[in-house]
Each structure stands twice: as structure tokens, then as C-alpha cells.
């Protein structure tokens, strides 16, 4: 698709529970999507869907869910499974991006077990998360991902008590270069099924990985990344390098 065809296009993003699932500065991800669309004259439309609010599985190109405190995550899990599960499955099946980060990632799986409690997840990713005794998995992290034939690095920070175990229906998002990843020992991080993606690289993931923001924008609009207008990414590249350095990669 020619570059000029993108003008007049709109990227429609829906943030789920923006007031509750935002504990690690998740809004940084939304800022990055917004600016990188605006600089390319792609219109950006952001809406939110909170507790007890309707979610339209047809109306958005990217569905984003971030991390929250335990209490908030519990509230959201009930609401998500009770009221938004169907819409999210509709969205995923038509190829929209569903991106879950940290707590949001856990909720996209089949279940989350906390002691004697088992929370049901949305079931978009074939995985289970268990809160096990032991240290939280905290620190800078870098993973190698291969989204469409090219190996790239995502750098970030993880901080999770839950361990996530993938089953046969989900593939890992990436291979751990430095850090803990899904469970601290498998060597894998995150999960992917089609355009549904989950990762423990929490909070402002996209500011540290502008290339991934562009992949999300392009994929959500149904175009190749190469079709996006290139931007001066000297700040972005320096920030990515800084986050990689922090992880030791």
C-alpha cells in the first residue's frame, strides 16, 4: 500500500480499565501509539472501557490491557470474564490486536491461581498462571522475538509474582536473553496466538521499543511496516539502547 493511502486512516485503540490497570505507567504505551500515528498523519482514536462498561469487539483495531494491583486485577478479572470475554474473542478472531501487559497478560490466559483461589481468565491464550511461593521475578529484561521473519529485541522491566506456563496452543512471544521470563526457568517470555500478544515486559514497553509500536500500528491497520512513513527515531533508538544496556544485552 502506498504511503499516501494511510492519510485519512484512523487507528482505533481501546484501553481496558484505564483507571485500574495502569500501575506501571501503562499510559506510556498509549502515548507512543498516539504520537507515532499523529506524526504520520494517521488519525488516532482512543477510548476506554472500564468496569461494567460495554466493550465492542468490532470497533477497535488494538485492545490494550495493562497491569494493576492485586485488588484491582481481581475486580477486572471478574468483569472481563463476565462482560467482555465475548467481545475480545470476536476482536481476536477478526485479527484485531489484543495486547496484554503484565497483569493484563495473565488475564488473557485460561486461569490465574492465587493460593486456593482460581480466577478464570479470558482464554485467548492457552496458558495458566500460578502464584507460587518464592521471590517475585523482578528486574530488567531483554527478549529476542521473531514476529515476521526477522529477529528483533524487546527490552523492558518485569515485576511479577505469578509464573505463567504455556500449553500447546500458545507460542512464546520470545526467548529470554536476560531476565526471568514467564516462569523463571523455561527461557521463554510472553505468549502469542495470532495477533493476541501477552508479555511481562510491563508498563512503558513501547517507549523502549518503538519498532514494536510500529509493528503494532501496521499490523492493526493491515499493512506492512515498510509502508509506514519513517520517522526520525534517534531519541527512540537511544532509549532502546539504554534499556538494552540496563538489561545487559
Amino acid at each position: 500500500m502506498a504511503v499516501s493511502d494511510l492519510k485519512g486512516r484512523t487507528l482505533r485503540v481501546c484501553a481496558l480499565y484505564p483507571d485500574l490497570m495502569n500501575i506501571y505507567a501503562d499510559r506510556g504505551n498509549l502515548f507512543v501509539l498516539q504520537r507515532r500515528c499523529e506524526w504520520r498523519e494517521i488519525a488516532f482514536h482512543l477510548s476506554g472501557s472500564g468496569l461494567d462498561e460495554m466493550l465492542d469487539g468490532e470497533a477497535h483495531d488494538i485492545y490494550y490491557i495493562g497491569g494493576g494491583q492485586d485488588r484491582d486485577q481481581l475486580l477486572c478479572a471478574e468483569d472481563l470474564v463476565g462482560g467482555k470475554r465475548k467481545a475480545l474473542h470476536e476482536a481476536a478472531s477478526r485479527g484485531a490486536i489484543v495486547l496484554g501487559v503484565c497483569g493484563g497478560y495473565q488475564l488473557l490466559g485460561e486461569s490465574y491461581t492465587l493460593g486456593d483461589n482460581q480466577l478464570q481468565g479470558v482464554g485467548l491464550l492457552d496458558m495458566r498462571t500460578v502464584r507460587e511461593p518464592g521471590e517475585r521475578l523482578i528486574g530488567n529484561v531483554a527478549i529476542e522475538v521473531d514476529l515476521n521473519g526477522e529477529k528483533r529485541v524487546l527490552a523492558g522491566f518485569e515485576n511479577h509474582g505469578g509464573r505463567t506456563y504455556l500449553a500447546s496452543g500458545a507460542t512464546p512471544l520470545g526467548r529470554v536473553l536476560k531476565g526471568h521470563g514467564n516462569d523463571g526457568h523455561s527461557g521463554f517470555e510472553g505468549a502469542r496466538f495470532g495477533n493476541t500478544i501477552g508479555t511481562y515486559l510491563h508498563g512503558p514497553l513501547l517507549p523502549k521499543n518503538a519498532w514494536f509500536a510500529d509493528w503494532l500500528i501496521a499490523t492493526a491497520l493491515g499493512i506492512d511496516v515498510e509502508a509506514l512513513t519513517s520517522l526520525d527515531d534517534s531519541f527512540e533508538n537511544a532509549a532502546h539502547a539504554s534499556a538494552r544496556r540496563a538489561a545487559g544485552v
Partner: protein, 561 residues
């Protein structure tokens, strides 16, 4: 003195002396050693304080609040043992006590005033047996180290409730912080409180109080603090001091924000879990609120600020209301956050029976605490250091900065050392958008400098106004080198919006370091804008590094003693 503690004190002292000679700042090193040798050393030394100890804990403003409290207590003629440099875990507090301990078993000070790290409150309260604990606020802070706010709140609750290590302490709580006020209410409703006190939730001096301030005890304490030291030999937290809660807060509708800041926390009632409804938001999640589900409301504060006037980055004033009456307070510190710090210190003074006159005198004579709104002169240029370490604190600094007219030169220093938190995600929760259109030149430095630069770019500050100089000495030299006021052609007139191709470029360290070799301001030509201060926004370890650098260069005319 116990037979065994003396030699340990001497050894720890000697280690401290060696460490100082070697130039290691290490304020907590001798204390760490002492605690290692004798786990009850803190308790044993603190028990020698004739008037016991008071503790200040919070995620934000501990050091400044304690500095204000020190000023108040000193105005009242009370000599203190105070960890004023902000070393606020066991090692730092043990070092402070060690420094005050005499060889004959005495201690040089009447009252211990300790700021305490929020995660150390339970353990230290168990050893210090405080008579008053100030719980000032809980903001999102260093999640990788501290975990979730509700986890901290839970630990605090365990500390102050019946059976906890601070069960006998009087509590001073921020009424405007729902999570903190909830702790006060849980305490007030706990079984510890004698039944007759519950009925006496009447009034002292016409001001409603919550459970404590039983008049007789209140007067007794006033007499005590002003009275002879000899009769005060009883230990801290005497049985006659009622457990109770004294609240402070702000009442000023003109301060209310249009909406809650993005990074606001503590939005749920601890009692029933429903979201609080805010009638006014003053700062982060501080304000007036109620729970529509269970009816929980913000408690009425006993110590109150009204008619708050914020005067840019320099000062603030407000009308202080206490059970002793009202007075105008003129703070030499800026921002609403310092008004809250002042209220916490004033409420601590009230809890200790200090007179209103001494409280006002103490608050007004408080200058900036270590690296907090401190003003220094670097290369002839006025440089204000405004510590930023988490979103709530950063937002208040940014809001205060935005009150100053004109465009500013900034030096942001983002470190990710352990004391800063390894996770720098928080910069995306801070509202740097407040600076859009107000930045002349932003220099970014520190271990994660490029990520701060990116944050500023996405806030909407033109990339042309942002440069990265990782190395702090170079960054400071470049940032303090005065910028040509009239030479703004490249910067001031650069209205070029971020275009798809992007005019912005990242200045690299080598290029910008040359600026550090410019002549000092005193020697440079008059076209330089002498009046414009430089604002430095460092994280905690960056602030320490910056101060060390300034002291070493002998350039800082520090107002901090």
C-alpha cells in the same frame, strides 16, 4: 548501660571514624555494624532518650517533614537526636543514636526524631517504642522495591493496630490521603482503645477530634514538654498516653484540580472495597472524598490549612488552624506538597503539646532539606535542586515549576540505582506535559538519560530543546553555562513542529561537552541571561552525586546546613 553494649559502641564508632577519614560518606555504616553486633542496640540506646522518640513515615516528604518538625521542636527548646541526612533504615538510625551516645551511658538529646523508611516502620517501631507516629502519605513509589501500595498500607496497619509494635503510639495521619486515613480509622476503632475514650469523641477547644486528645492527657503533655526534664524520666509511650489519632488536612476549594492526576492511587475504601468518590482533588489522590457504599468519609482534621497561596518555586503561605488557634504561616519552601509537609510537622507539634507560636516559628524558619528545593550557586548561576523520585513527587515539582513565568532551563538526572528503583517506568506516570511550551533547554543526564529525553519528546517538548549528556559533571557544566538570552534563534524561534522526517536530532555527549568548557558566568559577556535560574530535577542517587560534586568543586554556596 548494659555491660556488653559499651565496647560495641566504641568499635562501631571507630569504624565510622576510619570510614570518614577514607572519604566514604557512609552515614549508616557504623550503625549497620552496631546492629550486626547487637540486634537490640537501637532499642537500648533509644530507651535512654528521656522524652522517647517520634517517627515520621511516608513515601513522599519524610526528610522535609522531619526537618520542619526539628525546627518546631528546637523552637520549643527541645534538644533532638535526629537522622537529618535522611538515612532512614536501621543502619542510619543506629548511626544517629550512636553519634549521640556518650561514653558514660548518657545520650546527647532529649527526644528522638526519626524519619523512617516505609518498609522499616514495623521493625523500627518495635525497637524505638515511639510515642507518636506520623503517617503522612502513600504514593506510588519504586514498585520494584516496595511492591504495591496496599502491601505497604497492610504493613503499616499491622504496625499501628492493637498488638502491633506501635500500638501505644499516638498517630498523626493525613486525613486527605484515603489509604492513610483508613489506617487511622481502623486504629480508632480497634479494641485497644478504652471504651470510655470512644464515648469521648467530643471536642477540644471547639475542634472535633477523633478518639484521642482526651483533654486531661493533652494538658498534661503540654506541661511535660515545657517542664523540667527530670520529671520526664519515664520511658516513652507511657501508659497514660492514650492511643488515638490526630488528623491533618487542607481545606481550600481554590486548590482543587479539574481532575485526578493520572498516577493517582488509593482510590478504594479499605473498609468495603468500593471506589472513593472525590469531591475535591488537591494533589495526586489527596483531597476530600467519601465512600458511597459504606459511608466512610474523610475525617475532619484537627490541624488544618486554609487560604493557601502558592508563590512559584520560592515560597507558600497558608492559614494554619490548630486547637490552640489560628495563625498565618509563611513557608520558605514552595508548593502544595510542602504545605502538606508543614501540616504533618505542625500536627506532630500539636500531638506533643508544642505551642502554636513555636510551631509557626519553627515552620517559618525551616529552609530546604538536603536536596529538596535547595538553592545553590554553580558557576555564578542560581541553581535550584528539586528532588524527583516518583510520579506524585515529580508532578508536584512540575506543577510548582509551571507556576514560575517564562521558559526554563532544566537539568533532569535519571538514575536507576537501587535507591532510585531499578525500574524507570515511573517517568511515564509523571506529567511532563506540564512543561510543554515552558522549556528553553532541557539537558538529560544520569544512567538512563536517553529514556528521560524520550519522555520529554513524547510529552510534546520539541526535540531541538532536548539534549542528552550522560556524564553528570559534563551535563552540569553544560547546563549551568548560561545560555545566550538573545541568541534564541535556534531555540526560541524554533517553532518547527515535529515533522514526519523530524528536524530533531540527539545531541551527543562529545558535542555538548564542549559547552562545559565555556567560561564561567562571572567572566562571560553580558548578553548572557544572568537572572534565569537552572532547575535541576534529580532522582535520589543523582541528587547525592550532584551534591557531592558541588561540595568537591567547592562551588556550592549551600543554604543547607
Amino acid at each position: 548501660m548494659s555491660a556488653t553494649l559499651g565496647p560495641k559502641l566504641a568499635l562501631a564508632r571507630a569504624v565510622g571514624a576510619v570510614s570518614r577519614v577514607r572519604g566514604g560518606g557512609g552515614t549508616s555504616l557504623p550503625g549497620k555494624l552496631l546492629v550486626r553486633m547487637d540486634s537490640s542496640a537501637i532499642a537500648e540506646l533509644a530507651a535512654r532518650l528521656p522524652r522517647g522518640s517520634v517517627l515520621v513515615s511516608a513515601t513522599n516528604g519524610k526528610t522535609t517533614t522531619a526537618a520542619m518538625a526539628a525546627s518546631i521542636l528546637e523552637a520549643a527548646g527541645i534538644s533532638l537526636v535526629h537522622n537529618q541526612a535522611g538515612a532512614n533504615m536501621a543502619g542510619g538510625i543506629a548511626s544517629t543514636l550512636l553519634g549521640a551516645a556518650g561514653r558514660s551511658g548518657t545520650i546527647a538529646g532529649e527526644l528522638g526524631l526519626f524519619e523512617v523508611d516505609e518498609l522499616w516502620l514495623d521493625r523500627l517501631a518495635g525497637q524505638l517504642h515511639p510515642r507518636v507516629v506520623v503517617l503522612a502519605n502513600l504514593f506510588r513509589d519504586q514498585l520494584d522495591r516496595y511492591g504495591e501500595l496496599e502491601t505497604i498500607a497492610e504493613r503499616w496497619a499491622g504496625t499501628v493496630r492493637a498488638g502491633g509494635p506501635a500500638e501505644r503510639a499516638r498517630l498523626v495521619c493525613n486525613a486527605d490521603d484515603p489509604l492513610v486515613a483508613d489506617l487511622g480509622r481502623e486504629r480508632a476503632q480497634s479494641d485497644y482503645e478504652p471504651a470510655d475514650l470512644k464515648r469521648e469523641r467530643a471536642e477540644v477547644g471547639g475542634v472535633p477530634v477523633q478518639g484521642d486528645h482526651e483533654p486531661a492527657a493533652f494538658e498534661l503533655e503540654q506541661a511535660e514538654v515545657g517542664g523540667e526534664l527530670a520529671q520526664d524520666a519515664h520511658g516513652p509511650a507511657d501508659a497514660h498516653e492514650p492511643a488515638g489519632v490526630l488528623y491533618f488536612g487542607v481545606d481550600d476549594d481554590s486548590l482543587a484540580l479539574a481532575s485526578m492526576a493520572h498516577a493517582a492511587d488509593a482510590k478504594h475504601c479499605r473498609r468495603c472495597g468500593a471506589p472513593y468518590v472525590f469531591d475535591a482533588v488537591y494533589l495526586g489522590h489527596l483531597g476530600h472524598y467519601h465512600c458511597e457504599s459504606c459511608g466512610q468519609r474523610r475525617p475532619s482534621p484537627t490541624v488544618l490549612a486554609r487560604s493557601v497561596v502558592l508563590e512559584g518555586v520560592r515560597s507558600a503561605r497558608f492559614q494554619l488552624s490548630t486547637p490552640d488557634g489560628e495563625a498565618e504561616v509563611k513557608l520558605a519552601l514552595p508548593g502544595l506538597y510542602n504545605v502538606y509537609n508543614a501540616l504533618a510537622a505542625a500536627a506532630l507539634g500539636v500531638a506533643l503539646g508544642i505551642s502554636l507560636a513555636d510551631i509557626v516559628a519553627g515552620l517559618e524558619s525551616t529552609t530546604a532539606a538536603f536536596g529538596r528545593a535547595e538553592t545553590v550557586t554553580v558557576a555564578g548561576r542560581e541553581t535550584r535542586i528539586l528532588l524527583v523520585k516518583n510520579p506524585a513527587g515529580a508532578n508536584e515539582v512540575l506543577r510548582t515549576l509551571a507556576l514560575e513565568p517564562g521558559c526554563h532551563d532544566l537539568l533532569g538526572v535519571l538514575n536507576d540505582n537501587t535507591a532510585d528503583g531499578h525500574d524507570v517506568s515511573w517517568i511515564w506516570d509523571a506529567d511532563f506535559e506540564l512543561l510543554v511550551g515552558r522549556v528553553r533547554l532541557a539537558t538529560c543526564s544520569g544512567t538512563r538519560a536517553p529514556e528521560l529525553a524520550l519522555r520529554l519528546k513524547y510529552a510534546g517538548i520539541e526535540p531541538e530543546r532536548i539534549r542528552v549528556i550522560d556524564d553528570l559533571p559534563h551535563a552540569l557544566a553544560a547546563a549551568t553555562a548560561e545560555y545566550p538570552a538573545s541568541g534564541g534563534g535556534r531555540l526560541a524561534d524554533n517553532a518547527a513542529k515535529q515533522s514526519p522526517t523530524g528536524e530533531g536530532r540527539l545531541m551527543v555527549a562529545e558535542e555538548s561537552a564542549a559547552a562545559g568548557e565555556q567560561p564561567r558566568a562571572e567572566e562571560s559577556s553580558s548578553r548572557l541571561n544572568r537572572a534565569a535560574p537552572l532547575y535541576v530535577l534529580p532522582t535520589y542517587t543523582a541528587m547525592l552525586a550532584l551534591r557531592e560534586l558541588l561540595v568537591r568543586r567547592g562551588e556550592a554556596d549551600s543554604s543547607w546546613q
